[in-house]
């Protein structure tokens, strides 16, 4: 059995004390991603933009790990205002996921690491 391996986005310095993603054999564990530009840390205010950026960040991490979004097995979505923004999130979600959809849980939480952040997503995917 091989040891787990850390995966980061190419060209992005990761300073926090966890792995952006961890590959173990055929599984990829992606840490919670938010709607920040990975280079500048800037983020838009609205849920559609933040969801799109979050999923783009995840897509890039999965590609760095040698797989793709459609190999997602399960994901958790954390939202600061689920009642008002669930529909907006789902609209963008459908841009990224079609066909066999992953298992998913979505929960409303009180806050994220930075004021203004509305969504965080983590997931587990497989790779061939």
């Amino acid at each position: 059995m091989s040891a787990p391996r850390t995966v980061s986005l190419p060209g992005v310095t990761h300073t926090l004390p966890f792995s952006p993603a961890l590959v173990w054999e055929n599984l990829v564990f992606v840490s919670g991603q938010v709607g920040k530009d990975p280079m500048t840390d800037a983020f838009d205010e609205d849920i559609a933009s933040q969801t799109r950026q979050t999923l783009s960040n995840i897509k890039a991490l999965l590609e760095a790990a040698g797989t793709t979004l459609d190999k997602t097995l399960r994901m958790t979505i954390y939202m600061t205002d689920m009642q008002n923004e669930f529909a907006g999130m789902n609209t963008v979600f459908k841009e990224f996921f079609a066909g066999t959809l992953p298992a998913r849980s979505t929960v409303g939480i009180s806050h994220l690491a930075k004021p203004g952040l509305k969504i965080e997503i983590d997931l587990v995917a497989y790779r061939d």
Partner: protein
């Protein structure tokens, strides 16, 4: 695949309706643990102490399953005040996972099971083939 309940050396707490951890195959799912003493339930003071105690409690469970903290692949952290406590939590996190750290998610929650608790941590570990068998 076999499903095995894992109990730390400190034993079970009678009020808990769930298992400390469940192992299925080589994968170990560890329940959310907090910074309270596993026997007296006393809550440690401050974010660093609570984080250290929570990881100690988690480690006891992982070790009871025959693993080590190096086998941890994913950590979820629930915090009541991320803005103020993230730095203190990260400091201890770095001590626990000095290299090749696991994947992690951190979210702010409105409250935890008891007033005074600042964080709860759950994790998934993938154990070596023969660990604890």
């Amino acid at each position: 695949m076999s499903r095995q309940i894992i109990v730390p050396a400190t034993g079970l707490l009678p009020h808990r309706a769930y298992s400390p951890a469940v192992r299925v195959g080589n994968t170990l799912y560890v329940s959310g643990h907090t910074g309270s003493d596993p026997v007296t339930r006393e809550i440690r003071s401050g974010i660093e102490s609570q984080t250290r105690q929570a990881f100690k409690n988690l480690q006891d469970v992982v070790e009871a399953a025959g693993g080590t903290m190096r086998d941890v692949v994913k950590v979820n952290i629930f915090m009541t005040d991320v803005a103020n406590d993230l730095e203190g939590m990260n400091k201890v996190f770095r001590e626990v996972f000095a290299e090749e750290p696991p994947a992690r998610s951190t979210v702010g929650v409105a409250h935890l099971a008891r007033p005074g608790l600042l964080l709860e941590i759950e994790l998934v570990a993938v154990l070596p083939e023969e660990a604890g068998r």
